[in-house]
Amino acid sequence: MISLPPLTSDITVSVNSSAKLTEAIRRPIEPVGKHFMHHAQRTLRNHTWSEFEKLEAEKNVKTVDDSNVDPDELLFDQELADETLLSHDPRDWKTADLYAAMGLSQVRFKATENQIIKAHRKQVVKYHPDKQSAAGVGLEQDGFFKIIQKAFETLTDSNKRAQYDSCDFVADVAPPKKGTKYDFFEAWAPVFASEARFSKKTPVPELGDLTTEKKDVEAFYSFWHRFDSWRTFEFLDEDVPDDSSNRDHKRYIERKNKAARDKKKTADNARLVKLVERAMNEDPRIKLFKEEEKKEKERKKWEREAGARAEAEAKAKAEAEAKAKAEADAVANASAKADKKKAKEAAKAAKKKNKRAIRNAPKEADYFGDADKAAAIDEQVGLIVDSLDDDQLVTVADKIKAGQAKEGLQEIAVVLKDAGKLPASLLPYFI
């Protein structure tokens, strides 16, 4: 609820007469629903709002009155459901639809005692022979009145009514046609609801829907597998003659009736067993439960085998690790080899470089001022270079780099001579 600000100045009404509402747009409203109809009426009749409210209020009273009708009445047939009843032979009343005769064709076994009494009263008022002849209707309707009376008699005696309801095949709901497409629950719920009327045990569990729990579904089918039916077939008995003259004949008929009844009862039980079996087979929930069970089993099996699997996994892991290590080692080896090779090559290159440096040293130093002996010097330096080991190569090269080529070569020539690697006679220039 909105809370208003307090009044701080002394205004009663102050209209901003210069203000205009923002331009409105004309568009259609949807001509549906009661609010539209009210709008239409107000506009058509040019009612002010208060007039309209008054009218509506009166109308509401009326509709409340209207709905004061007995709810039972709404369930009764407005017209005779089966016109042929009017000419039905009253002696054959047993083959007439007694509920239809009572105007209860839609209610049938669900009719309460009270409804039967009310319905009967209604039919009597309408079909009483006095009324009918006054209206100039032929005599045959007398017969229909007799049927109504028979119906009343049958339906108000609980024993007779049970017998009649047992054979009220109109109230049976046939199971869905095989091979047609239907929603399981929509199609089967009414079937079970109608079969349920014969249960000795109450309450009868309901079919439920896809969300019904497993235990309830199981309870449902176990109830129906063990269904205890009070359905009897006496009503279809052949009439037993009541004259006592022929006792044997009477007994014969009685025996025949009993046999027929038993046979029908057996057939009916078998029918129900088959029906329940079929429903169970079609029940999507049962299929679901089975699948779940299967999955659960698989899961259990999986768990059971967990130990073995762990071992296998460990083994696999160890193997994988070993393999990984081997691979890593191989890679390391290879790279070490490569490194070595590289180092070697580098050393080789360095050696070559040093050798070249030494060979070229005399020429670079203008043959130490003895250019006329260039060939001899080159030859002798060549001999020196070829006799040097790696370390000596480096030493001499360093000396040359330091600009002391001649000294370096002289020194090493002595070393080589002393080591017996080269005779002094071959190196006359340096020794």
Partner: protein, 541 residues
């Protein structure tokens, strides 16, 4: 008792019939085969005519004589008909400039049936089903139509119906019918803007509807004739076809019959996946003599048809934009049509639309669990309503002067104690109109300030956490955290616009009633009445 007026929803894919039963409840009527959603299909095998699900099943064996998707052709010239819609059934041909079908009726006989005749026969079957169910002859109906149906189309429908003794008392728009059914079941006093989104088999329709004081105004509509449940079927079919091909090295796409089998089964699979999280498909001899058995779970399906689902969401966005509204202005999306059973539709919308938009889909407890029955139910409700009126009264009520009314383009409301604007008559309220506010038990002197309201959308960014808080956490190890998502909050905010009037009321002891009234001429009158003394202060603009 006079026979009831029934409501019919007639779609390209399926039709439903409904009526209000003696217990005063909406009853959607099942045909003798137990179908409440009756396929709009007629099929002919020699002399025999099949209808509904039985006809639908003929699409595999007898497609050339099985008429599907014909509703939208009624009243249209042939060249305006999208003949591709009938590719999988009896082909459409030009009969006297109208759409029609050439059907084999056995022994070399041929029947040429115009779409008008097809519609007559279809409506007749629906009428018979209703009569069978109700036990009375039916002669009147309310029929729902898409909002883009032309006058010619409606005339053609009326004629096709009258040919079989059915009078169409009123045509009503499909989205309005659906909304009517919804508010009947879940009544609300509040004004609201609702998108009614109807996802059918071969088309999708949406309407933005303003509900003001219980009256509906359509603010915008959108139609997509290439989007519907068939698109989902196509994705599934392709998915299965690929799978089948890889398993069997046989291509089911080459053969119309194989495709028809696959289509029929894919549709069932699709529907199953609306209820269950996985489904199996099983077809004997699908192609080249190979059987096909496979299963698919809901997630895979949703991934496979992802593109189509995105189209559904975009379609709704587009109609909101078309109405010139922001998604924040929408209070709810009412999902109608068969495709709306699909859970992914709702979850996608919950994700793409602001939280304030309620998604009224079959899984919402505040909405019908049968979205495909909404429009027929609405038609039945309207049927009950007009049954109380005679023809002239109804005709009068539907006159343009009554229907075409002015609608406010700004909110009108009050200033509350904090100085903020509170809408009373919201934008798009039609008039003449009256609205009462009851302030129970208030006492004192009050200022009633009446203004037009302006509004705008305000966007604020909320940082998820401030830096200090993070430092206080002690673990400043990951300083990169700050590029966390910034939350953007959008809100519609009102501000005071033009001042219209002020009323001062003094000495209120026990409650105040404020009445806003706009008459036909657009005169605004605000009346404040002291509930105890009945003293009145009144202003008129």
């Amino acid at each position: 008792m006079s026979s009831p007026v029934i409501g019919i929803s007639f779609g390209n894919t399926s039709s439903s019939i409904a009526y209000i039963n003696p217990k005063n409840d909406v009853d959607v009527i099942a045909n003798p085969d137990g179908e409440r959603s009756i396929p709009s299909v007629l099929s002919y095998v020699g002399e025999d005519e099949y209808h509904g699900g039985q006809a639908f099943q003929q699409l595999v064996r007898n497609p050339k004589n099985t008429i599907i998707n014909f509703r939208d052709f009624i009243g249209l010239p042939f060249d305006k008909c999208d003949v591709s819609k009938c590719e999988n059934g009896a082909p459409v041909v030009d009969i006297d400039g109208k759409a029609g079908f050439v059907i084999a009726r056995g022994e070399g006989k041929e029947e040429r049936i115009t779409v008008d005749e097809v519609v007559s026969r279809h409506l007749n079957r629906l009428k018979l089903a209703a009569e069978d169910y109700i036990g009375q002859t039916i002669s009147q109906t309310i029929l729902t139509v898409p909002t883009d149906f032309t006058t010619e189309q409606k005339d053609a429908l009326a004629q096709a119906a009258s040919k079989i003794g059915l009078k169409i008392v009123q045509f009503i728009n499909e989205p309005s019918a659906s909304l009517l059914a919804h508010v009947e079941q879940f009544p609300t006093e509040k004004d609201a803007n609702v998108v009614v989104a109807d996802f059918g088999g071969v088309r999708s329709d949406a309407a933005v509807i303003a509900i003001r004081n219980g009256v509906f105004t359509i603010l915008a509509t959108a139609h997509d004739n290439k989007l519907g449940g068939d698109n989902l079927d196509a994705e599934l079919i392709e998915y299965f076809a690929k799978d089948f091909e890889s398993k069997n090295k046989a291509n089911p796409r080459k053969n119309a019959r194989s495709m028809a089998k696959l289509r029929a089964n894919a549709i069932i699979t699709k529907k199953t996946l609306s209820n269950a999280t996985s489904a199996t498909i099983s077809i004997d001899s699908l192609a080249d003599g190979f059987d096909y058995h496979a299963s698919i779970n809901r997630m895979r399906y949703e991934l496979t048809a992802n593109k189509v689902f995105a189209q559904f969401s975009n379609f709704i966005d587009s109609v909101i934009t078309k109405a010139g509204l922001d998604p924040l202005d929408i209070n709810a999306v009412l999902l109608a049509g068969g495709v709306s059973f699909t859970p992914k539709l709702s979850t996608n919308l919950e994700y793409t639309l602001p939280e304030s938009v309620e998604i009224l889909g079959p899984n919402n407890k505040n909405a019908s669990s049968n979205p495909n029955e909404l429009s027929a139910s609405g038609a039945a409700l309207q049927a009950r309503l007009v049954a109380d009126y005679d023809t002239d009264e109804l005709k009068e009520a539907l006159q343009p002067v009554i229907v075409n009314t002015l609608h406010l383009q700004k909110d009108i409301g009050l200033v509350d104690a904090t100085g903020a604007f509170v809408p009373v008559l919201s934008k798009e309220t039609y008039y003449p109109v009256q609205k009462k506010l009851l302030l129970k038990k208030v006492s004192g002197d009050f200022l009633i300030g009446v203004y037009e309201g302006d509004s705008h959308i305000e966007e604020r960014t909320i940082e998820p956490e401030t830096k200090d808080e993070k430092a206080a956490d002690g673990e400043d190890s990951e300083s990169e955290w700050s590029d966390d998502e910034l939350e953007i909050v959008r809100e519609r905010k009102y501000t005071l616009g033009t001042k219209l009037m002020e009323l001062g009321v003094k000495g209120v002891k026990n409650g105040l009633e404020i009445v806003f009234n706009i008459n036909k001429e657009g005169v605004l009158r605000v009346t404040a009445r002291d509930l105890k003394t009945s003293q009145v202060v009144k202003g008129e603009l």
